[in-house]
């Protein structure tokens, strides 16, 4: 994955092109004011190239969905199901959507928001309610890869398009799917860890909440990499449920049994894991996470010399992208069936750009929420 950065330094504009796990492949220093315009032009060219490159690479295998039968005139009624509110990521995810939809008053007549509380059964009921209410489009984050198939089919039969937001279903009964590939996330984390350990070591593994397919997909991606490196041994593995309290307890127990692991692959916010290490007095090891959690980044930014970590993340602003796709569909424009946004990577170099010391630990930093909304959500 190619990331292009512009770092403002005094009197200089530095262009940095990174690939993969932040290995700089190109650094351009430009001095002076005239160079600023040149830099911007180069940036724009690179960006356009990237977009075309990605689109080109993607479009070869992509299935295009014909949405002309869903075309309707605005204003529209959008049905959005909040899959869970059990942690701050999901709460922020929902808030991102609410912020996005609030900017389109003239296009959106009404938003029907339902809550599934992590339950597939409730989600089915909610979608049935949306069908009864005859919404124009349904945006849902499925709580189960299989369970929603019948009810999504009913929605499609009622001529209501269905957008899958950040989690998918089996089969292809849906209109379009937007996600950061969880399997690739897990793989990237594992690849970084293997790299840091030179292919040799004993590691802990902390997985996410068992239940949504997301945690399993990430672990599958990781196992793909670990199976290729026989000298990497997963000595202890347990579920942290994406919650710091449980993760802290689980990692404490693991450290009590096995005090000196070489590395840790952790699908977790991060701060709980770090505190467990601190309290056990164990020395820090490479932490491979998929977290952009503010609490974790705060600690990281303040202890850069101690912490060797990476965060390959699924950003909360995915749900606002879902809205963009929803509009496209309702305008009858074609969309790709599966849309995979590349993950964003937080590393030692850019952690300072993302961390927010003025916001609480529960905040997820890769986020487009306006400051007012973020502060309102977190009660500042």
């Amino acid at each position: 994955m190619i990331c292009v950065d512009i770092l403002p330094l005094p009197d200089t504009i530095t262009l940095r092109v990174m690939h993969g796990n932040c290995k700089n492949i190109l650094l351009i220093f430009l001095r002076g004011k005239n160079m600023k315009k040149l830099a911007i032009v180069i940036c724009a060219a690179l960006l356009v190239f990237c977009v075309f490159g990605v689109a080109f690479a993607v479009s070869k295998e992509q299935q295009v969905v014909d949405t002309s039968r869903f075309k309707k005139d605005p204003p529209w009624v959008i049905g959005y199901d909040i899959y869970w509110l059990g942690n701050t990521w999901s709460a922020q995810f929902a808030e991102e959507f609410k912020q996005a939809v609030s900017m389109y008053d003239q296009l959106v007549k009404d938003v029907v928001i339902t809550s599934s509380e992590g339950s597939t059964e409730k989600q089915i009921k909610n979608i049935e309610a949306m069908i009864s209410k005859k919404v124009d489009i349904i945006i849902v984050t499925p709580n189960s890869t299989k369970g929603l198939a019948p009810v999504i089919k009913k929605a499609l039969q009622a001529n209501i398009p269905v957008v899958l937001n950040a989690a998918g279903v089996e089969g292809d009964e849906y209109t379009t799917f937007i996600n950061v590939t969880d399997r690739a996330l897990g793989k990237a984390m594992a690849e970084w860890l293997v790299n840091e350990l030179d292919g040799n070591g004993r590691i802990f593994a902390i997985t996410g909440l068992p239940g949504l397919g997301v945690a399993e997909a990430r672990w599958d991606g990781a196992m793909e990499i670990f199976n290729q490196h026989r000298k990497i041994k997963v000595v202890m593995k347990d579920a942290g449920d994406w919650a710091d309290p449980k993760t802290k307890r689980v990692v404490s127990d693991m450290l009590a049994a096995y005090p000196r692991p070489d590395g840790i692959w952790a699908d977790t916010p991060g701060l709980g894991m770090i505190e467990a290490f601190e309290e056990a007095g164990s020395s820090f090891i490479p932490f491979a996470t998929c977290s952009d959690n503010n609490g974790f980044l705060k600690y990281w930014a303040q202890h850069k010399s101690r912490v060797n970590a990476i965060g390959v993340t699924k950003p909360v602003w995915l749900s606002s992208i879902a809205l963009d796709y929803a509009f496209r569909i309702l305008q009858g424009n074609p969309v790709f069936k599966d849309n995979f946004i590349p993950p964003c990577v937080v590393t030692e170099e850019n952690v300072d750009d993302f961390v927010r010391f003025d916001l609480p630990n529960g905040y997820w930093t890769l986020c487009h929420l306006s400051d007012e909304r973020a502060k309102a959500l977190f009660g500042e």
Binding site: L85, A243, D244, D253, G272, G295, P360, N361, G362, G379
Partner: protein
């Protein structure tokens, strides 16, 4: 010492031997005390649950009270002694009110305890969810963190001391004071208790207030451990205090049991959990083992003849 405690003690010894065999490192003082420290949080809640069960009731709102205390203290505590003390007192007072409502409704309207406390649990959960909008905020000051997770002389966890102190205090209260003994009487034979002048209603209200207050104390310790406000602070404490009490010999029949057994029950629960992690057991295995232990020990208790009835 009560004969009733024989079964749990035997269980505890068995578990410790199993740990020693599998991972002797875990029995070294530092890690052993660490594991025991983690039992303290459960232990404090279990004390309250045991007292309630002694009157024949049950309190299913304790885990929500823990979460509420955690969110409340993280939200309001600032880093000065006055703030810490006042927020602590307010949290305990809040929990006391919850317990008071529980106890009053149960005593005066005859609502089964399980329903009242479940409903109260929902109400508490809804309240803190609405207040925090799902995004709790705030940090716990250093002093409280020290109490929750710190160690004296770098060895003895403070939380462990708090738990043991509270336990012994309650044991003395239950066995040596009239109010304490009335708890036993109300549980085992409410009619006789009333006839001998004990005010059953106040006793019941007292035990529910106590259990909620103890849950708040545990919530403060847990907050110290976690260092921040979170929605999941109480999740592990829904059924485990009941399990700890049952393993320790307290039954729902009322009037039977005591804190001593609960201490052992708490330790067993904690060490079994630890043991499961050591053998890398799947979550499924942990559950099955827990269920078998609870069922098995409850069976052993109920087939013994040393009841007061």
């Amino acid at each position: 010492m009560n004969k009733r405690l024989l079964v749990p003690i035997f269980g505890l010894v068995a578990v410790l031997i199993a740990i020693a065999v599998i991972s002797p490192y875990s029995l070294m003082p530092v890690s052993f005390l660490n594991a025991t420290k983690n039992a303290s949080y459960l232990g404090v809640v279990a004390i309250g649950q045991t007292i309630v069960m002694l009157t024949g009731g049950i309190d299913m709102s304790l885990y929500e009270t823990i979460a509420l205390t955690n969110i409340f203290s993280a939200n309001f505590m600032q880093d000065n002694p006055f703030s810490i003390l006042s927020v602590t007192l307010l949290a305990i007072l809040l929990a006391g009110c919850i317990g008071f409502v529980n106890g009053t409704m149960i005593a005066k309207t005859g609502i089964p305890a399980i329903i009242m406390t479940i409903a109260m649990g929902f109400a508490v959960r809804g309240s803190y969810l609405v207040l925090t909008k799902g995004a709790p905020r705030g940090y716990i000051p250093e002093v409280v963190r020290f109490i929750g997770r710190g160690k004296l002389f770098d060895l003895v966890p403070v939380a462990l001391l708090v738990w043991l102190a509270l336990s012994f205090g309650v044991i003395l209260f239950l066995n040596r004071t009239a109010a304490g003994k009335s708890v036993y009487f109300t549980g085992s034979n409410p009619t006789a208790a009333r006839l001998s002048g004990i005010n059953n209603d106040w006793t019941i209200i007292l035990v529910y207030v106590t259990s909620s207050v103890f849950a708040a104390i545990s919530g403060l310790l847990i907050s110290g451990y976690l260092g921040m406000g979170t929605l999941d602070a109480g999740v592990e404490y829904m059924l485990s205090p009941i399990a700890a009490s049952v393993i320790g010999g307290t039954t729902f029949a009322g009037g039977i049991g005591g804190i001593g057994g609960t201490i052992i029950g708490t330790l067993i629960m904690r060490y079994v959990d630890n043991l499961m992690t050591l053998v890398n057991a799947r979550h499924a295995g942990k559950l099955i083992v827990q269920g078998v232990i609870i069922g098995g020990i409850a069976t052993m208790h109920s087939t013994q003849k040393w009841s007061l009835k």
